[in-house]
């Protein structure tokens, strides 16, 4: 066997490109979860619980007369988060306001990441998505505010500072 043979190479494996990149990456600026993140979470948890307890001490949950199917109250409102839907129903055919638009909203939300394929995260580089979403949110919030605060008996207009027909 000759001592100085020509060097021979053999393919042992193929390393995917990401593996190589990961090995070269700078170590990230990280900190220990305990105590850094856990202390912050404990503070937020305590804050949330204090807010809930303060509300629970200050305000009693409503309890009206017993349910009576034969006695329609002057104001029959859905819970506040559906007040926008109820407001929409007072303007459009139920097929549109009650079925088509809510279904479209939910489907739109579910499919958003697959419709918006722009990889940018800065607002300036994704104007269409930001403007569209903001407009829809503003409309939804306005409808909810009107339905919850500005509607009275028979869904007539009522100024909230004259009489507030809102039960939480």
């Amino acid at each position: 066997m000759p001592a100085e043979a020509e060097p021979r190479y053999r393919l042992l494996g193929v390393v995917p490109r990401e593996g190589e990149v990961a090995a070269e990456r700078e170590p990230e600026d990280t900190v220990f979860t305990w105590p850094h993140l856990l202390v912050r979470h404990a503070v937020v948890a305590a804050g949330v619980i204090v807010v809930v307890f303060a509300l629970a001490i200050a305000f009693d949950a409503p309890l009206k007369e017993m349910a009576n199917p034969n006695l329609t109250p002057p104001v029959a409102k859905a819970p506040w988060y559906f007040a926008g839907l109820q407001e929409l129903l007072s303007h459009f055919h139920p097929m549109i306001a009650g079925v088509f638009l809510p279904t479209a909203a939910v489907l739109g939300l579910l499919l958003l990441p697959y419709l918006d394929l722009n990889p940018a995260t800065e607002a300036r580089a994704r104007r269409v998505a930001v403007v569209t979403f903001t407009l829809l949110v503003v409309v939804a919030v306005l409808l909810t505010v009107v339905g919850a605060f500005f509607r009275g008996p028979g869904w007539s207009w009522a100024w909230p500072w004259q009489h507030l027909y809102l039960e939480l």
């Binding site: 001490i57 305000f59 329609t72 939480l168």
Partner: protein, 255 residues
Amino acid sequence: MSKTGDRVRASAAWRSVFRAPHTDTPRGRAMATFQNFFLHVYPVKVPRRALSFRSTLRLGFASAVLFGVLLVSGLYLMFFYVPSITDAYFDMHEIATAVAFGQFVRNAHRWAAHLMVLVVFLHMLRVFYAGAYKSPRQFNWVVGVLLLLGTLGLSFTGYLLPWDQLAFWAVTVGTNIASYAPFLGESARRALLGAPEVGGKALLRFYVFHVYALPAVLVTLLGVHIWRVRKDGLASGDAQGERAEPPQEVSASAG
């Protein structure tokens, strides 16, 4: 640390529960997370950026805390509440007047529920404006939307349970919309209420959804949601997260 504290932590009983020795070394801090069942949903180390309050406003975490408050307060209320049209309303009066801390627990349950709807909605807005639903987090946004729907479902089914005029008519108005469902029509509303009108069947149905079916779905989805948040590198803006780390097995066999 006080001397008594040290003695307690050194005792055999303490160490049988908390396996990691409490030391202020990097290893001790890592073990505190790693060796704890409840903390192991967290990574041992987090990117410094994930600590900033401004990056998330802590809205997702606050939603989870509110959900926890609701689970505990809801459990207490279940002991005193029977979902039948003859008992439900009188049980509510009992809770308010005769049950220890009943009124307080009911109040906490109600306000936490309203807050949760609000905070989950704000969490969604925050995630949208951060563009945090983009690759690789697309599916976690979908899970998040399902969690929002689950939150609304829980809130709405709970709304009927007091069986007062407010509950009855709010749910009557709400479920009337279901009768316009395409193809199904009136039968969609019937399926929801178990009867043509809101009554005893609807109360039982809403109760079962409220205390069992929807919480089970929500807890499962929340597990998936949080697990994926961690796998995708928390709110660090790092698109790769944990997945970019070379698998341990490969580096071990290479050595």
